[in-house]
Amino acid sequence: MMMFVAAATAILVAMGLALGRALIGPTLYDRVLAGNSFGTKTILLLGLMGFITGRPDFLDIALLYALMNFIATIAILKFFRYRTMGRGMRARTLEARKTGGSDG
């Protein structure tokens, strides 16, 4: 039981720290990383809650969270690399860069 308490406290403190970085983070990448690591802490806390209540079946959902977290982070980073969503954006963005104009 003490172990559960210690683990829960540690994870919650880590969540608070990640949240603080998301709030004050000066650059964009701080925020992206804070969101990603907050998702990871969510997965950990979800697994811990499963073991506390004696039903670790929720680990499936933790897996889904992990996938979601990954996909969202990849999407955000791709978005800031290519500045668009959707298909065929790379060619168009490169073309816009070549012509030197803004692509808005």
Binding site: L23, P26, T27, A34, Y65, S102, G104
Partner: protein, 242 residues
């Protein structure tokens, strides 16, 4: 009447711990929502809304609503973040500056409606009450008849896919239509939906918590990639370059 009390006292330590976790999650939710209200940079708001979705999904799991938590994680944290970013492409990247004012009527409406909602929760059955209508009559009937009638291992799936099949089909059609509408609105596949967008030029060092423009301008060219001319129209990611 003694039996449920006995059950609760057996799980007392873990119930206390779960209560602690739930209260912490709710506190974090409050902090995140207040921060979302106060933040002017839309990208930060998008990231915070993803964090909010993760937290509320966690809270749904704590309340044993696992299917809702599943949906919240997939839709709230996954799809919504991407849709919000796509929508951000079509607008400015900063919220308009907040004009302080006194909207007493809005405050009054909020207080009255919120008070009415809180008052309404007093009539709701307690959490986990076995005699609550949702647990007692119809729900119990489904639990009893599910194994005999359609023999699905998961009761929620059975109700959604079989007992409420037509309803679920209608919902699917509605969601499909909504997805089509959102894709048309956002113009996915074209850059910025083919629109010309002018961002509000960022005021230098607007707030201490916003960004470090001076630091960025020196480090901007070190990424080695050719970036477009830094006009006010240039799209997302410019002033935040590492």
């Amino acid at each position: 009447m003694n039996e449920p009390l006995q059950l609760i006292s057996d799980f007392q330590p873990s119930a206390n711990l779960m209560q602690f976790i739930e209260i912490s999650i709710l506190t974090l939710l409050l902090v995140v929502s207040i921060a979302m209200l106060r933040m002017r940079r839309l990208f930060g708001v998008v990231m915070l809304s993803g964090i909010y979705s993760f937290l509320s999904a966690l809270f749904f799991v704590a309340l044993d609503a696992v299917d809702v938590a599943f949906t919240e994680a997939a839709v709230g944290a996954g799809i919504s973040t991407i849709l919000m970013l796509s929508a951000m492409l079509l607008t400015a990247r900063r919220e308009k500056p907040f004009v302080p004012g006194h909207a007493f009527l809005a405050l009054l409406v909020c207080v009255v409606v919120g008070g009415a909602l809180v008052y309404a929760t007093f009539d709701a059955p307690l959490y986990g009450d076995p005699m609550a209508p949702a647990n007692a009559y119809v729900g119990q009937a489904y639990v009893d008849r599910m194994a005999v009638e359609i023999s699905m291992p998961n009761i929620v799936t059975g109700v959604l896919a079989s007992y409420r099949g037509y309803d679920t089909m209608g919902e699917t059609a509605v969601i499909f239509t909504a997805a089509l509408g959102v894709m048309l609105l956002l113009g996915l596949g074209s850059e910025r939906g083919g629109r010309v967008v002018s961002d509000v030029p960022p005021e230098p060092e607007a707030s201490p918590s916003s960004d470090s423009t001076a630091q960025n301008s020196t480090a901007q060219n070190s990424t080695g990639q050719k970036s477009p001319a830094p006009t006010a129209n240039s799209p997302i990611g410019r002033e935040d370059a590492p």
